[in-house]
């Protein structure tokens, strides 16, 4: 069995590499200036914009954490997808943040901070943005490796997770350094189609084994009302649902830099709004389809006839994370599993390249650039971005080995991301829509928003705050940041007006 899986894996991998090379031929322009390198020449049309938005936000990590949520919480995990649809639909319907941000003409988001609040806020804001983002992607590599290794292990392939981690990250670094944002976007189109096909084929194949009606019965029997009603589920509740509308919807689409940067690459404002509106159903699907795979995995190992329970039990506390890949490996024939593994790899690459490029370009252009006076120096910017990509990749390897938080992967992502977005949402929205916003307000907002770090489980435990939920800490951090922003801006505005009067 392992031989045929390997053979098909080799064939599909070769086909994937050839397709990527063909897609790149003559299109990855390395000498088109900073605009070409950072925002792909700002020429994306509607189709490409939707594909790159979708592919960036559907990584193997997305599949893994949603599958884990579906396995643990049943159908009630689907509410995260609904929240994403509502949030992203709202952004697309009125062009919230994305449209005025595109109008500013900036190349990176901290550049907007400088336009609006000054150079020091650009540097400080970029550091907070990159810190939250890099912490956020800390588990991408490890989770992807564990997922792929578990999937292939069922067919007898003994894949070493650490070696797989090194291989995956080396591939992502080489490819991202090659052609900048253009390189990232060209392959996003191909990868989006491939991973959508892979996910749909998996769902169709598996629902033939475990029909939807049977999955509903098994979840009902084992999880009760909590398997369907997110308000009755002990892991969710009202504050969690509201938190999801903010995090999985509005923030993911309009505040999170990897997504918002896409708005900067689109050719005009009208296309920005249409792209986000259409992408809102992709934001729904990226949560619901993988969560359904998790529900199917739960059902698969609870039918008593399909999935051997001892296979799952042997993974101990990681059982919820590896249940879906184990099911895929156990249920699917070698050729289909090989195709799915390549589609999963494509989804890993499409997210990994965007994230690596996003944080590295922000650190290079908005931290090192203003400090060393190299903002408009093309060679220095490209070299700096490439070096930082390698450094972030090494950190990812390290973090994947040492982090031992207790939360689900999705909750880790929401919390680590909130280190940036609790102040980011205040600065972006306040800066774009409130004329009275000032530098002092922005500074206070950044400092107070950083309090969201308390929700990371090792810090929460150290402070004895285990009883306080992460959504509550997140909302409190946003409230504090907003308060600092308003009071700081008003006090500075009043001071400035008094000075003007005296003068």
């Amino acid at each position: 069995m392992v031989d045929s899986t390997y053979l098909f894996l080799a064939i599909f991998t070769l086909a994937y590499v050839i397709a990527i090379l063909l897609a790149h031929r003559g299109r990855a322009q390395g000498d088109g200036g900073l605009k070409e390198f950072f925002i792909s020449g700002r020429d994306l049309g509607l189709g490409t914009a939707i594909a790159t938005l979708g592919a960036t936000e559907i990584g193997l990590i997305t599949i893994a954490y949603n599958a884990q949520k579906g396995f643990n919480e049943g159908f009630s995990a689907f509410h995260i997808g609904l929240a994403a649809l509502i949030g992203c639909g709202f952004v697309g319907a009125i062009g919230f943040v994305v449209k005025p941000m595109r109008r500013t003409g900036v190349l990176t988001l901290p550049e907007f901070y400088q336009q609006r609040f000054g150079r020091d806020i650009r540097i400080f804001g970029a550091i907070v943005m990159a810190l939250g983002g890099i912490l956020n992607m800390g588990l991408f590599l490890k989770v992807a490796s564990v997922f792929l290794a578990a999937m292939l292990s069922v067919k007898g392939a003994d894949v070493n997770v650490n070696i797989l981690m090194v291989t995956l990250i080396a591939g992502a670094v080489l490819y991202t350094c090659y052609g900048g944002m253009r390189s990232v976007i060209i392959t996003d189109i191909f990868q989006f189609v491939l991973l959508s096909a892979g996910l749909l084929i998996a769902v169709v194949y598996l629902t033939n084994l475990v029909p939807l009606g049977e999955a509903i019965s098994i979840v009902r029997e084992n999880k009760g009302i909590g398997g369907f009603d997110p308000f009755a589920n002990e892991s969710f509740g009202l504050s969690y649902v509201l938190w999801m509308i903010l995090v999985a919807g509005v923030v993911s689409a309009a505040i999170w830099p990897t997504a918002l940067t896409r708005a900067l690459c689109i050719k005009d404002e009208a296309t920005v709004q249409r792209a986000y509106l259409i992408a809102s159903v992709i934001f729904l699907a990226r949560m619901v389809v993988p969560a359904f795979l998790g529900v199917l995995a739960f059902s698969y190992f609870n039918t008593g006839t399909l999935g051997p329970a001892e296979m799952l039990a042997s993974h101990g506390s990681d059982a919820d994370l590896v249940a879906t890949p184990l099911m895929l490996g156990h249920a699917m024939p070698g050729w289909l599993l090989a195709f799915l593994a390549v589609a999963m790899f494509a989804s890993f690459m499409s997210t990994q390249d965007s994230y690596l490029f996003c944080w590295a370009s922000i650190l290079s252009r908005d931290v090192l650039g203003p400090i060393f006076g190299t903002v408009e120096n093309e060679q220095a910017q490209k070299r700096g971005t490439r070096i930082i990509i390698v450094v972030i990749a090494l950190y990812e390897l390290y973090w994947g080995l040492i982090y031992e938080g207790r939360e689900d992967i999705w909750d880790y992502l929401a919390v680590s991301g909130s280190i940036y977005f609790c102040s980011g949402i205040v600065l972006m929205v306040g800066g774009l829509y409130w004329k009275g916003a000032t530098r002092r307000g922005a500074l206070w907002a950044l400092i107070l928003g950083f309090s969201a770090i308390i929700a990371l489980s090792p810090i929460k435990i150290a402070l004895g705050l285990e009883g306080v939920s992460s959504p509550i800490i997140g909302f409190a951090a946003i409230g504090l940041s907003l308060l600092g922003f308003v009071i700081g801006s008003l006090s500075e505005g009043r001071g400035a007006r008094k000075t003007e009067k005296r003068a």
Partner: protein, 39 residues
């Protein structure tokens, strides 16, 4: 909402999601091929 209500809602969202993946993928593929052919 009753458990049946939730089941109906999640089933509808599941099919909407699957349809969205399928339709948007086909749309993106057709537009991309169209652009490549025009070039």
């Amino acid at each position: 909402m009753s458990i049946e209500g939730w089941i109906t809602l999640w089933s509808a969202l599941l099919w909407l999601s699957a349809g969205a993946f399928g339709l948007v993928s086909v749309y993106v593929a057709i537009r991309t091929v169209g652009v490549l052919v025009r070039k």
